[in-house]
């Protein structure tokens, strides 16, 4: 085992969790926190079939999010294929003594919203979940990554996971984001710059002035999108923003433990002599609101830009890829982004369903009417409650926008919330893959404020012109 003193934030957390090493450089990492959801049934099935038990049920936290309906009427009586998944999670968690925030619990929501919100996610912990957007939790200074179903079973049975130390990338964001430009825009600009495979095999640590200035919700959005750059995890050193966010959360340490934890958390940052395999710098001050035009999150352009021309592609393969993407999206090169008409709008997902996201959307919507079908699915029951306490639900409802129950909803489109073939959706989610929001559906990724602007105009619009 490497015994040299670690210098980067990632290595500090990694080494603190290394149980043992296998020949060839694989490390057995201890897992502090394991999030489970209604898609985790495969792993429970597998450990049951193998006659194994859950080693540390108290380190597991479960809630339905992928299959749970967001329509209030369906919520109490889901279609059978969804109900079975929700009930299976209830049964599996009760059988193994795992904390479960069920469908009627106000704490229920999308795992990646609820983890930080409950203080389950803490700086310096390792956290895994059978979901690729587990990268989100790195925003709190945790080492967090998505795993497959077999690994979920492995963590349930052993509380550990085999990993190969990734390469380290530092993404320094200088300057400040201009007003009206959000963490979502930053993430899309970053992915457009390094590519959807730019972070493959890496852990990305975000640093720089713009990151320090970001609120917790913005940091969660940015780390969430790390996987769309190919990186299994994103990471931000915890600071006072993190500690203030965490203090008093139900699962965060209290009293003497809080002080002890805080002293440790303050050591969790990359030292000046930390070495990174790859470094990138982005100037936040030059960014604009971003929208995707293609079928990979890397296919993003500023709202003031145009749909790019495949003839300008760097090589034949990339040209063919762009042509296929534009054919699927039904777009012509040179079309101004701000002229693309849309059919519906989705505001939600583990990327953008937190209170700050809903406030940003409501600010644009206030006093206007939606021109296309639009719905909002808050990230958790507590986000929903907080939004209602400040009247955001009323702003949306007055605009003719549906106000739904929490869940993954039309991001992964597994709970019946899907769009129609050929429909063009402005979506605050994280993936514009072919067929992601329903077969033949065309997805444009954007920020909550931009989604709201699209909702009230029916066309992709620079939201800054509406405020």
């Amino acid at each position: 085992m490497n015994t040299a003193s670690p210098t980067s934030l990632f290595e500090k957390i990694w080494q603190a969790h290394a149980v043992t090493q296998a020949p060839g450089g694989r490390t057995l990492l201890y897992v502090d926190r394991h999030l489970l959801h209604d898609g985790s049934f495969h792993a429970f099935d597998a450990i049951r079939a193998a006659g194994r038990t859950v080693r540390r049920p108290e380190r597991c936290f479960a809630m339905p999010d992928h299959y749970i309906p967001t329509l209030p009427a369906q919520r109490s009586a889901p279609a059978d294929k969804f109900r079975i998944k929700i009930e299976t999670l209830t049964r599996n968690t009760s059988e193994h003594g795992i904390v479960h925030f069920g469908a009627n619990d106000v704490r229920q929501g999308i795992v990646h919203v609820v983890g930080p919100e409950q203080g389950i996610t803490l700086p310096g912990v390792t956290l895994v979940c059978g979901d690729s957007h587990t990268s989100t939790h790195g925003a709190m200074g945790a080492l967090a990554f998505g795993i497959g179903a077999s690994e979920v079973g492995h963590v349930l049975a052993t509380q550990t996971v085999w990993q190969t130390m990734p390469r380290l990338m530092r993404m320094r964001i200088d300057g400040r984001l201009p007003a009206g430009v959000s963490a979502k825009d930053l993430s899309l600009a970053m992915i457009a710059s390094i590519g959807a495979a730019g972070g493959t095999g890496h852990a990305i640590e975000y640093s720089g002035e713009a990151i320090r200035a970001l609120d917790m919700e913005g940091r969660l959005t940015l780390c969430n999108m790390s996987i769309e750059a190919g990186a299994r995890c994103g990471l931000i050193a915890p600071d006072d923003t993190t500690f203030e966010y965490l203090h008093g959360r139900p699962h965060a340490p209290t009293k003497a433990f809080w002080d002890q934890a805080l002293a440790y958390w303050r050591t969790l940052r990359s030292d000046d002599d930390a070495v990174f395999d790859t470094e990138h710098v982005i100037d936040a001050g030059t960014l604009e609101p971003m929208i995707t035009w293609g079928t990979s999150p890397q296919d993003a352009a500023p709202i003031g830009g145009v749909v790019p021309d495949p003839l300008q592609a760097q090589n034949a393969a990339s040209r063919a890829g762009m042509e296929a993407a534009l054919a699927y999206m039904g777009l012509k090169p040179g079309t101004p982004m701000a002229s693309i008409q849309i059919d519906r709008v989705f505001i939600g997902s583990c990327t953008n369903s937190r209170l700050a996201d809903l406030r940003a959307a409501a600010q644009v919507v206030k006093g206007r009417r939606a021109r296309v079908p639009t719905f909002v699915a808050p990230g958790s029951g507590l986000v929903k409650e907080a939004a209602e306490a400040e009247g955001l639900d009323k702003v949306f409802l007055d605009a003719g926008i549906e106000w739904r129950e929490p869940g993954c909803s039309m991001c992964v489109a597994m709970n019946g919330d899907i769009a129609e073939p050929g429909q063009r959706v402005a979506s605050t989610s994280n993936r514009n893959f072919q067929g992601r929001q329903g077969a033949g559906v065309r997805t444009h990724l954007l920020s909550p404020a931009m989604a709201a602007a699209a909702a009230v105009t029916g066309v992709l619009t620079d939201h800054r012109k509406l405020i």
């Binding site: 795993i147 493959t200 990186a231 393969a317 489109a413």
Partner: protein, 201 residues
Amino acid sequence: MEPFTLVDSVAAVVAIPNLDTDRIVPARYLHNPRSAGYGQFLFYDLRFGADGQERPDFVLNQPSHRTACILIGDANFGCGSSRESAVWSLHGFGIRVVIASSFGDIFFENCFKNGLLPVVLSEADLMRLRADVAKQPLVPVKVDLERQHIEAAGGESFGFSIDPFRREILLLGLDDIGVTLQHAASIDAFEQRRAGQFPWL
């Protein structure tokens, strides 16, 4: 898990960069238990049209390639969602080797849990292999994990590297959990140490 052996089969080329796991198996099929057999859902919207009819131009629908055990992709194969069912779909369809210039990290990891070998070739080697296969699409390609070697139809051959731990898992068909439980004492000791150091967790 069944041990991985030498694979000798025609190779199907799906040269789509960033081929995400949503396209390998659409989310609408994920409610099925694994026992339903995920091979039927593989590349569903690429294999079938909106009318449910096979798309005859898709390589895995061609009679010569319906039983292909080798799939040759492009860059960033299997990016996106962590769904292990993407691997189950490939394996269930009969694919035992996927060759690409890079893979999504989670997909790559999932392959080893299910007896599917992901091979990373340099972009140049991948192009050379694809050119070779294009010339003689009906001639089998041989993939030898033991020797870490690929032999293509036209006599082109390629070495590949693989982490020895993962190679052994595949060759012996080992169960990961079984391997890890041999370290149970280390895990116990780690937990005790950690409880003293980080009592708030």
